[in-house]
Structures are given as C-alpha cells and as structure tokens.
C-alpha cells in the first residue's frame, strides 16, 4: 500500500467517496458534491465558451475593427440581444423571432440530410443484399432483410395487425426484442466500465494498492 502524497488526489478521492455515499442513502456529503459539481461545471462552461468562442469570434473582432466589422458580427450582436429578451416580458416578440430563426436553420439543414442518411441510405443498405461468401453472412443478410421489414411492420399502425401483417409484426417484435437484449448487455458493459474507472482510481492513484 502506497498512499498518495498529492493533496489533489486526496481531494479527488474524498469527493469520489462523497458521491458513492449516496448508495447508502441521500446525505449531506453527497449533496455537497452534487452542488459543487454544478457550480464547477457552470464556471468551467462559462470560461471555455467565453475564451474559445465568444471572445475570439465576436468580441475581439468587433473591438479591433469597430464599426467597420463584418456584417455577420453585427447581426450576431442583434440576435444575442433578441435572445436576452427572453427575460424581458414586453420584448417576448423579439425573443420568439430569434428562436424561430434558430429552429428554422436547424430544421432546414436537418430535413434533406436526414432523408438521405437515415432513410434512403438505410433502405439501400437493407435491399442491397450480399448473398455470397460465408453461410453466416448470407444467413445474417437474410435475417437483416426480413427483420428490418418485419420491424417496420410492427411500427405500422394504419392496418390492423392481423393475418400476414400480424405475423410480420410478431416477427418484428421478436427481432426488436433480440436487438434490445443486445443493447441491454452493451448498456450493462458500459456502466461497468465507468465503475471500473473509479475503483481503479481509488485503488491505484489514491491507495496505491495496484500498479
């Protein structure tokens, strides 16, 4: 056992234990850590956005070029002001205009790319079956083709799930369950890794039990 001598490591270990104490029950140590992290994250976020985006992309160019700055910088200032109107009751119209502009740009970008990436390309991936090579690949591709169509049928509610549609929907629900089973095990694995990370920190960096 080789206890850490760095006070920072001790602070990190104590904070880790404060959070773990929640497993027993809610307590003041956990609440302290909880509120501390909110504050630190707020300060960190402000600082990073200020120093890496707001200052170099808006304030500094405006300061350097003054009134001769590029038009988009002035428009940015106006839109920032409109966003700030969220807290002014009499200026809600301006805030809603800024919000509409913001959402419109997002949706306009989202529509064509999503249609292509998440619908057309996915359909292409399903129908372009490669039925050659290893038998597991051929079987897999057939499962993929049938499973995708069956799963889509399961989500299709404009026709009653009876007869052929009902059978397809049932196969679809089984496929989805198999998929969810795989997802569940991956979720478990992922969470375990996060715990391993903390335990490893305590045992290696703080207590010095492991190399």
């Amino acid at each position: 056992m080789n206890l850490a001598s760095d006070p920072y490591v001790w602070v990190a270990a104590i904070l880790t234990l404060c959070v773990f104490s929640f497993l027993y029950k809610d307590n003041p140590f956990f609440c302290f850590a909880e509120h501390l992290v909110v504050g630190l994250a707020a300060g960190y976020t402000f600082c990073t956005y200020w120093q890496t985006i707001f200052l170099p992309e808006l304030i500094t160019p405006l300061w350097q070029d003054g009134m001769g700055s590029h038009a988009h910088l002035w428009i940015s200032v106006v839109i920032c002001f409109m966003w700030a109107c969220k807290y002014i009751d009499r200026a809600q119209d301006l805030f809603r205009c800024a919000l509409a502009f913001w959402i419109a740009v997002d949706l306009g970008l989202f529509l064509p790319t999503t249609m292509s990436a998440r619908v057309l390309e996915q359909i292409a991936g399903t129908v372009n079956l490669r039925l050659q090579g290893d038998w597991t690949v051929i079987l897999g591709n057939l499962v993929l083709f049938v499973g995708t169509i069956a799963s889509l049928t399961y989500f299709y509610f404009s026709k009653a799930h009876k007869g052929v549609v009902g059978a397809a929907a049932r196969v679809g629900s089984w496929t989805i369950m198999v998929g969810f089973g795989a997802t569940f095990s991956y979720v478990v694995l992922s969470r375990i890794y996060l715990l391993i990370g903390r335990v490893h920190f305590l045992m290696r960096d703080w207590l010095g039990i492991v190399e």
Binding site: F20, C47, R96, A100
Partner: protein, 211 residues
C-alpha cells in the same frame, strides 16, 4: 407579452430560413451558398451566448435561494461560490494545461462527474435483479439474447466455447441492426414530418400561443 405582428413574424422567419436551408442543400448557387455560410457563422457566437443565458438562469435561481434563506440554501452557496471561483481562475490564470483551472477540472470536477455516472453500474445491477423477468415470450427472447451477448463478451467463455462469441457477434450485427434500422427509419420519418409541419407553420406549438 405577444402582439399580433409579433406572433406572425416568427412563422414568416421560420418559413423563409427553413426553406432557404433546404434549398441550399440541393442548389449550390454561390449567392445562396454565401448567404447560408454567413448565417452559419452567425450561429457560432450566438450559441455561446445562449449557453450564458442558461448559466445566468441557473445562478439566479441559486442566488434567490440564498437571498431568501430557503431550505438547503447553504448548498446553493456552494454552487455559487464554486462557479465564481472556477470562472475567475480560468479568466485570470488561463485555461491551458498546467494551470489551476486544468487541475481543478482534473481533480474536482472530473471525479464527481465520473463517479455520478459510475453509480449507474450499481443501479443497472439492482434493476436487472429486480425487474428483468422472463414473464412473456418477448421478455424471454430479450433475456436469452442479453445472456448470449453478455457471455460472448467474457474472454474466458470466448476461449472455452468459441461459437458463443460468434453467436453474440451475429446477434449484434444482424438482428440488432435490423431492429435499430427500423427504429431509425421510423423516428427519422416522424421527425421529418414534424420539421415540415413546423417550417410551414402547420404545427405552431413550438413558439407558444397567440395572446
């Protein structure tokens, strides 16, 4: 307060900018491209400003708690103090590697955040123990699939029984892909229909009601 013009103008903006960004995807005309490029540059500093608005909202809420001496106001003081301290440290001494800011990130912020997430490992284990039951055919399929994938990820079983790992890989690569693809196509079509309705002002809930 929302006026009549103030109510309608955002929908006009939504239509204009929404359609503009859809069009620019298909028509790469220099005039359209330069307009949309300018708008993209506007969004960068404004997005930082929106984060600031959110942070101000958070800090105002905690400041009010402290001012009114509400229940657990001491924790709010922790949040306010830590936010101010982190911001000052970052603004005064910089954010580069080796600064106090970087140390606070590594030894104060990181351990709490990482440990908070690692708690999920305990909760997943507890939830799996209490709620993961083979009550129905669907749940049994999910359970079997999860078991196969979990066993397939354990190196010991991988060596002992190689087909298990192949089966796990098969499940993730094919039935899981089919299920996830159906969900992806379905959610994307749904999201696109909402986007179209929002851009054309058919769905107006996003910007609130007329007063």
């Amino acid at each position: 307060m929302v006026t009549k013009i103030g109510y309608r103008l955002p929908f006009v903006l939504m239509l204009v900018f929404g359609v503009l960004f859809v069009v620019q995807y298909f028509v790469p005309h220099p005039a359209i491209k330069s307009t949309t490029d300018g708008i993209q540059q506007i969004k960068q500093p404004v997005s930082a400003f929106i984060i600031f608005i959110g942070l101000v909202g958070l800090l105002v809420m905690h400041a009010r708690r402290v001012k009114n001496r509400e229940r657990r106001w001491g924790y709010s003081l922790v949040t306010l103090t830590s936010a101010a301290a982190m911001a000052v440290v970052g603004m005064v001494w910089g954010v580069d590697q080796g600064t106090v800011y970087a140390d606070w990130f590594t030894y104060l912020l990181s351990p709490i955040e990482a440990t908070m997430f690692s708690l999920l490992a305990f909760f997943v284990a507890s939830a799996a123990f209490r709620a993961f039951r083979a009550r129905t055919a669907g749940a049994t399929i999910l359970l079997v699939s999860a078991f196969i994938v979990m066993f397939g990820m354990i190196p010991f079983f991988e060596e002992l029984f190689p087909p298990l790992s192949k089966l796990a890989s098969f499940i993730v690569s094919y039935p899981n892909t089919a299920a996830k693809r159906a969900i992806l196509i379905g959610t994307s079509l749904g999201a696109m229909s909402v986007a179209i309705k929002t851009i054309f002002g058919i769905d107006r809930t996003i910007l609130g009601r007329e007063q």
